[in-house]
């Protein structure tokens, strides 16, 4: 449950059992924004969303209104797809949002579909979320019965159909082009871009893929205006931010907080601080694919741009003395990602923790690109032997160099999702890894650092 701090937007109905039904949702103001939107011109809705500075809440933080304008003007068969495949470790907001306010998502989708002139639309939901599949299917059925969905939404002539599409267990399907392949009945392997989905997506048609939380903000933008939403946030990031705080804090939880609140405030004030007698050691700022913050970097704001550019955050290195280059000389600090904040205190075995992260990405690589398929599995093996005191001389540099070889050389970002935290933890917690290497029982020269 959120604490009382700042304006609540998408979590305002949390805890309200009645609002989970369509009658209760309508009673609490639901579907009013849709009525207003249906009286607007679609391009005006797009403009409000652009003015709102709403940015994608799934991970990349791309400007939603700008994304919507990528659909070709003369397009006829457009699709809107909601990405409800939440599986980034440490992230549990979309599942809660869907459980507590399924109709807010549906209303946001109908408005977005109207703005995009999208008539055949889907919610792609993770296969394991069986409870939420039932919640959404029931809510969609209710919305059809009340005329919010169908061949003529509320008698306006606008046809809008929505189908809940259940996945079957594959992290990679959260990547939007893998999601589209999965929705088409293929294996969930990412597509080369371009063409981008907004031009050629689902069934070859222009398609916009948006995250659950992103779409849930849309009714409020229509009701209150883009400027209102933009003013709620800071800089180029409008609105609030829903974060999921887990790990070593007194009060883990899903919290809707003011954009730009610092990590120290989140940990100490919202979540009651570290566990008794412990101090915070590492903080993953937005899902396990993001480079961590260390204890000296917690005064930076939890906001898209700050996490990429704030100079108080150390630059990620390939090895000591060599900054990682993202291309064109761009340096990597970290990113806001999915809002999954994982707090690890000084009791944490960092090499073991990093091995668990690598184990996940090695398991979830779709196998399509060699650098990811082979490289992430290789990192997992080396990280494991390091963690278990079987590290070979040179293994830490080897890990950095494998990560460097993966990043930027794959079709989708899963390669980076493993390479970035590997390099990030090595950069900021090298002493922990070196201490473990010093305990290694492998004799220099006996194994060979290149063997995997």
């Amino acid at each position: 449950m959120p604490t009382e701090r700042g304006t609540k937007v998408v979590t305002a109905r949390f805890g309200n059992e009645d609002a989970r039904t369509i009658a209760g949702y309508e009673k609490s103001g639901g579907y009013q924004a849709l009525r207003k939107a249906l009286g607007m011109r679609p391009e005006d809705i797009v403009n409000e969303v652009k003015a709102s500075n709403l940015r994608g809440r799934g991970g990349a933080g791309f400007h939603t209104g700008v994304k919507w304008t990528f659909v070709p003007k003369d397009a006829t068969d457009v699709h809107l797809v909601c990405n409800c495949d939440e599986s980034e470790p440490g992230t549990c907001k979309d599942r809660e949002l869907v459980y507590w306010d399924p109709h807010l998502l549906i209303e946001g989708m109908i408005i977005a579909a109207f703005a995009l002139k999208a008539r055949v639309n889907y919610i792609y939901i993770r296969g394991e979320m069986m409870r939420e599949v039932e919640v959404l299917r029931r809510a969609v059925e209710e919305a059809y019965q009340r005329g919010y969905l169908g061949d003529s939404v509320l008698g306006t002539g606008f046809a809008c159909h929505l189908t809940v599409h259940r996945g079957a267990g594959a992290y990679i399907c959260g990547e939007e082009t893998a999601l589209l392949n999965s929705l088409e009945g293929e294996r969930g392997q990412p597509r080369l871009k371009p063409p981008f989905p907004a031009v050629k997506g689902l069934f070859g048609n222009p398609t916009i893929v948006n995250n659950v939380e992103t779409l849930m903000n849309v009714p409020f933008i229509v009701q209150n205006g883009g400027k209102w939403f933009s003013d709620l946030g800071v800089g180029r990031s409008g609105g609030t931010r829903v974060v999921c705080v887990s790990g070593h804090v007194q009060r883990p939880g899903v919290y809707e907080l003011p954009m730009g609140i610092t990590f120290r405030e989140i940990i100490d004030e919202v979540c009651g601080g570290a566990l008794p007698g412990r101090t915070v050691k590492a903080v993953i700022p937005g899902g396990s694919s993001m480079p961590p913050l260390d204890a000296d970097e917690l005064d930076v704001p939890c906001e898209f741009d700050a996490l990429q550019t704030d100079e108080r955050i150390k630059v990620v290195q390939v090895r000591p003395g060599q900054d990682f280059d993202m291309g064109g000389g761009r340096k990597l600090r970290t990113m806001a990602g999915s809002g999954g904040i994982v707090v690890a205190d000084d009791s944490t075995d960092i090499p073991m923790f990093v091995w668990r992260i690598m184990k996940f990405y090695a398991h979830e690589s779709c196998g399509q690109c060699t650098p990811c398929r082979e490289g992430v599995a290789w990192m997992e093996k080396v990280a494991k032997r390091v963690a278990y005191k079987k590290g070979h001389p040179g293994d830490l540099d080897l890990l950095g160099s494998i990560a460097h070889g993966i990043a930027g050389n794959t079709i989708c970002a899963l390669g980076e999702a493993a390479a970035w935290p590997m390099m990030g933890f090595l950069t900021k917690f090298r002493a922990d890894f070196e201490a473990r290497m010093a305990q290694s029982t492998v004799v220099a020269g006996a194994g060979g650092g290149r063997a995997a």
């Binding site: 599986s87 992230t91 296969g127 979320m129 069986m130 189908t163 267990g169 009945g185 790990g247 668990r356």
Partner: protein, 165 residues
């Protein structure tokens, strides 16, 4: 031995085919339904899905083996998914998983008639770690000591995954 879908599943598949421009996107739903009816996806079950949706068998095979929720071998009536990913790990997920192993007499990845025990990746319940999922039921803030109670509860109130197909 050739298999047949129940009338209910046939109707569900036919309804779903109306929601897409072709039958191919219904493959995941049809595989979920087949697993619900037959317990696992044997070669015959895959052939049934292929013929029902007019898809090549190798395509259905490729899809069924890509996604982790589909199983090619028989398993337990219920699937216990114990998350051990980072948020749960920090809160003691491995002792919880070991407690399930002792309680059920199974190792992770094994099944008996009642339960399959799965070491699961993040199930999006990180704020209440360690978390365990069985069908539509989440068990939150689980302790090794609480495992016996969960198992006893599920024996009395089963939550098979097939209920949501």
């Amino acid at each position: 031995m050739s298999l047949e879908f129940s009338a209910d599943s046939q109707r569900k598949i036919a309804d779903l085919c109306e929601r897409y421009p072709s039958k191919k996107p219904v493959v995941l739903a049809a595989l979920h339904l087949a697993q619900k009816e037959f317990g696992h996806l044997s070669d015959d079950a895959l052939r049934l899905v292929a013929s029902t949706l007019e898809l090549p068998y190798p395509h259905v095979y490729g899809v069924a083996t890509f996604y982790t929720m589909f199983r090619r071998e028989p398993g337990g009536r219920q699937t216990l998914r114990v998350c051990t990913n980072v948020s749960c790990m920090l809160r003691g997920a491995y002792p919880v998983l070991e407690s399930f192993e002792r309680e059920l007499g199974l190792e992770r990845g094994e099944s008996n008639a009642e339960f399959s025990l799965v070491e699961e990746e993040c199930i999006a319940a990180c704020a209440n770690a360690p978390a365990v999922l069985c069908g539509t039921r989440y068990f939150l803030d689980v302790t090794p000591e609480g495992v016996r109670e969960i198992v006893q509860y599920l024996k009395k109130h089963p939550h098979p995954e097939g209920e949501v197909a």
